[in-house]
Subunit: 197 residues, 2 copies
DNA sequence: ACCTGAACACCGTTCAAGT
DNA sequence: ACCTGAACACCGTTCAAGT
């Protein structure tokens, strides 16, 4: 009989990683402290040692993880804004399971810091009302990703009756290349609008 | 001892109304079949008679309720689109407790029908790629309301430590008049962009 | 047809106890 | 310091039973 493997130590990072995997794979409603414990080969109660506020802390951490992005200032403020928006979209699309949290919870911790940094960068680059600009950019990204993920049918139960109700005709191929183009086109329009304010 | 009141009959409408009241007042996580039963003066199990798929059906119904809006065609397609967007924003803002569902669940039933109707109206008014236009308008409204509700601090637990972290400076007065102006301004820009495509 | 009561499997969280 | 086991209050849902 082989000896029991020495258990990998539990960390905040490993917990969050496993939680994202469950949420993305089975949906947020099935992300459970006990299931999370199973995935980590640990009793559920062990998680409380690393996330003292329990499931609320976990939800906050997940929202933060998917929302705390970073981008460097680029040539023009438009390029800077574009970099932020692309990074945000990528991070949100990577984890559709926790999108509801990102859309709903006000930024905290590193996520709030990221928003403040973005405002600073745009203000420094001469954008007149930088907070309003960042609000508009955030709204654009959140809305675009929400619609993308809705249309992808991610939220539908996997055991559906064959085909989902086509509530919107797919962009063209339904692929993400078309979605990328849509996103960039809308972003250009928004940046033009912000410049002409 | 006064006689027991004849109980008001349970209906789908009353159930949804009570569920919205709980979700808006205490948050979606506290919306529970048993609590919902209490609010309706009924055992939780009675709800299943009106919503056979149980809590999933309830969630679907809530998303539909807050998402199935209607608007009549107006003078120009821009005015038509504006009417749809204003109606959608109003409906979503009225029930912040179920906003996560509206942002996340693909439209079904009357909500999907509303989207199709909106596409038809714009197509009939001569908008070239009406489905793409409606996608963009939907994204705009969803994102705008998401940011508004985040900024309102609605999701914060009521028993906070005095003041929430100011992750974004308030628009100016923090009031909804400023938010209304922001919304209309962004909408104008988007409509201009859609026209110039 | 509509609602109840009891039951079942599961959930979040606490706390004393182990190592 | 880190994890476990047992316990508690609560949850969604089924089903037979009442009216």
């Amino acid at each position: 009989m082989p000896a029991k493997r020495p258990p990998i130590p539990l960390t905040r990072e490993r917990i969050i990683e496993a939680a994202l995997h469950i949420a993305d794979g089975q949906g947020l409603r099935r992300l459970t402290m006990r299931r999370l414990g199973d995935a980590l080969q640990v009793e559920a109660m062990a998680i409380y040692h690393h996330l003292p506020r329990g499931k609320d802390a976990l939800m906050d951490a997940l929202a933060e993880h998917v929302t705390a992005v970073h981008a460097e200032p680029a040539g023009s403020w438009q390029e800077t804004a574009r970099a932020w928006c692309r990074a945000s979209r990528a991070a949100l699309r990577e984890h559709p399971g926790v999108l509801a949290l990102a859309l709903t919870k006000p930024p905290k911790g590193r996520a709030a810091a990221a928003v403040r940094e973005q405002i600073e960068q745009l203000a420094e680059a001469g954008v007149p009302d930088a907070p309003a600009a960042v609000r508009a950019l955030r709204a654009y990204v959140l809305g675009a990703v929400a619609v993308e993920v809705q249309q992808s049918g991610w939220a539908e139960p996997p055991g559906g009756d064959g085909e989902a109700e086509p509530w919107l005709p797919p962009s063209r191929g339904g692929g993400s290349a078309e979605a990328d183009a849509d996103f960039e086109r809308g972003l250009d329009a928004l940046l033009a609008g912000l410049a002409g304010a």
